[in-house]
């Protein structure tokens, strides 16, 4: 490969990596709150698809993409409250509650889409968020196409990395979240309402996941499809765990996964002689390898997946 081609290849790879890791990063950031507060929400996949649909419907009927984003966030919030109710109020097993949420979410989204749009010859489409071009910054060689040629949701997601870090480390709310996940009884004795904080965290997780869903339908693509989340919610849950509940590391983990995915596609395209299934499996293999590398240090929030009740000893 000539030098020039090599640079082009890397630019395309990195720009693609950023784009494709956003729908993993967004729900992962939300799940950092949720998991930090002690709740494992395996229903992210379901929430994301609900978000994707709501985002699209909102944007389609109002013509406003931002209204679409708003509807996705609200829908994600509302839908995640089911998880909150099951895991916090009912104190149900979180694995089954999350599974139920995924089944319900994927079916409900598919059902509502058909109800709203009927059967069409061609799918309804909208104009999705365009790439921003900060004062022509995207024209800067190399750096431009990698960093300055994305749509606004990408930058929003990157901002949310910082924002999530800030909330968790610098605000009273973040401190409460950590306390609730580690030692709910202590939090309770300090006057923190454990259930409320957990509800809020589940809801925030839902909002971020909803946003992640909207990114897929109106940020990345321009329409809704039943299978457009394609396991990204589950990947997000993994990313959260192996980034050890740290937003910055979550960004790297999402980039890593996204990068592996883009890399396999680029390698396929340029005709690397490896069966494509092996390349397709690459991101997942990489995830396990990284997980094994970092796990020794992983200490789960002490109250992870354990419901809290003041009266039980």
């Amino acid at each position: 490969m000539s030098n020039n081609l090599y640079i082009d290849f890397m630019i395309s790879l990195l720009a693609g990596t950023i784009r494709i890791s956003i729908p993993i990063l967004l729900p992962a950031l939300g799940q950092i709150y949720t998991q930090r507060s002690g709740i494992l929400n395996l229903g992210v996949e379901g929430i994301m698809i609900i978000g994707a649909l709501s985002g699209f419907v909102g944007a389609f009927f109002t013509g406003s993409l931002w209204f679409g984003v708003f509807s996705a966030v609200v829908a994600g919030l509302l839908f995640s409250l089911i998880m909150g109710f099951l895991s916090i109020t009912i104190k149900a097993n979180q694995v089954i509650a999350g599974t139920a949420l995924t089944i319900l979410g994927t079916s409900l989204a598919s059902f509502l889409y058909r109800v709203i749009f009927g059967i069409r010859k061609l799918p309804p489409i909208i104009d999705s968020f365009p790439s921003l071009n900060f004062l022509g910054l995207s024209k800067i060689p190399v750096i431009g196409p990698i960093f300055f040629n994305h749509n606004i949701l990408v930058y929003l997601a990157l901002f949310l990395v910082f924002f999530t870090w800030f909330v968790l480390e610098k605000t009273t709310f973040g401190l409460k979240v950590k306390a609730v996940g580690e030692f709910p009884r202590a939090a309770d004795s300090k006057g923190i309402r454990v259930g409320l904080i957990r509800y809020i965290c589940v809801a925030i997780g839902g909002m971020y996941a909803g946003l992640g869903g909207a990114f897929m339908s109106i940020g990345y693509m321009d329409t809704y499809m039943d299978h457009m989340i394609a396991g990204r919610g589950f990947i997000a849950v993994s990313v959260v765990i192996f980034s050890r509940w740290d937003p910055k590391r979550a960004l790297f983990a999402a980039l890593l996964f996204g990068g592996a995915n883009v890399l396999q596609m680029r390698l396929q395209s340029i005709g690397v002689n490896i069966p494509n299934q092996f390349l397709l499996a690459l991101p997942y293999v990489l995830t396990i390898l990284v997980l094994v590398g970092v796990s020794k240090k992983v200490a789960f929030p002490s109250a992870f997946t354990i419901p809290y009740s003041r009266n039980s000893k």
Binding site: K121, D226, Q268
Partner: protein
């Protein structure tokens, strides 16, 4: 719904689809074809549609159920229906079965198939002639036989008209994750590819979308996808299943089905089941030379002077 009425003399037809009837692809083309025939033969047939019979284990009960309910003709739209249909057909010798691709037939079982190779060939000619960078691409879902045939013919044809051509090829490993396909296509465009054909299914929308955001050219599949991106979808191929369906139904009505020797119904360029879609707004930009070469290829394939090999892995 199914007609319970005994006095109804119409042929009871069931169409079992593995995906959604509005997937802008494989399933939708068949659905549309069947709808056309149903309207045409409103007094002769009554059709029941079932979508998303995706799990292989659920196929046989579905077929058996329709057979047991007294349906006269059952379509299974995919090769995964082959084994179950052969098995059920033995138990219901009076029922007719039609299998969408595959290779096993029986007294009451026929195969209908599309010569995607011919379609791919035509697309390859177009891409080879239209490219300015001498780099073209093709994106497919899973690497299965009919898709493979299309891709191989595409590559062969492109090389035949443009010896300098470089071709990038990608399988996303999935029929429905359009976002991944979009990123794959984006990567191709980034590396200098200026025209991509996609070989169908939900992922095709990702390629169309990539063309739109990158403002490059793409070619559609299955249905005329120009409206999705009028400035980017230069052409494509579309299937018209109606003639083949009509053919099968006529055979049954005329008692020709069971004793027919050739149990293959082909959708071909020759019988206009596979067509090149119009150029729409690109009409004026396409040189007469290109139009002529394409037309020659169509004629050649139709009258057998050009023989597209039956590629096999």
């Amino acid at each position: 719904g199914a007609q319970e009425d005994n006095s109804d003399s119409r042929l009871k037809v069931a169409l079992i689809l593995p995906g959604k009837i509005d997937d802008v692809s494989w399933n939708q083309a068949m659905y549309d074809g069947m709808k056309t025939v149903e309207e045409m033969y409103a007094d002769k047939i009554a059709v029941t549609y079932v979508e998303e019979v995706y799990e292989v284990a659920d196929i046989e009960p579905a077929i058996r159920d329709f057979a047991a309910e007294g349906f006269d003709l059952i379509f299974g739209h995919g090769f995964q229906f082959m084994e179950p249909i052969i098995k059920v057909a033995e138990d219901f010798p009076d029922t007719c079965f039609a299998l969408g691709t595959g290779f096993k037939t029986g007294k009451n079982t026929a195969v209908y198939d599309v010569t995607l190779g011919e379609g791919g060939y035509l697309m390859g000619i177009l891409a080879g002639l239209l490219t300015e960078t001498n780099k073209i691409g093709v994106v497919g879902g899973a690497d299965v036989s009919e898709i493979y045939r299309g891709h191989e013919a595409y590559k062969m044809a492109a090389k035949s008209v443009n010896p300098k051509i470089q071709i990038q090829e990608l399988y996303t490993g999935d029929w429905r994750d359009a976002a991944t396909a979009k990123d794959g296509a984006t990567g191709m465009y980034d590396s200098g590819v200026d025209i991509i054909w996609h070989s169908g299914d939900g992922i095709g929308l990702g390629v169309v979308n990539a063309a739109k955001t990158e403002n490059k050219l793409a070619m559609g599949n299955v249905v005329d996808q120009n409206v999705l991106a009028p400035n980017n979808i230069i052409s494509g191929i579309q299937y018209n299943w109606a003639p083949v369906i009509k053919n099968i139904i006529d055979d049954i009505i005329n008692d020709n089905f069971m004793n027919r020797d050739d149990k293959y119904y082909w959708l071909t360029v020759a019988n206009e089941g596979v067509q090149v879609t119009p150029f729409h707004s690109f009409e004026s930009q396409i040189s007469d030379e290109v139009v002529k070469t394409l037309q020659d290829a169509v004629t050649g394939i139709s009258n057998g002077t050009i023989e597209v090999p039956h590629f096999q892995k």
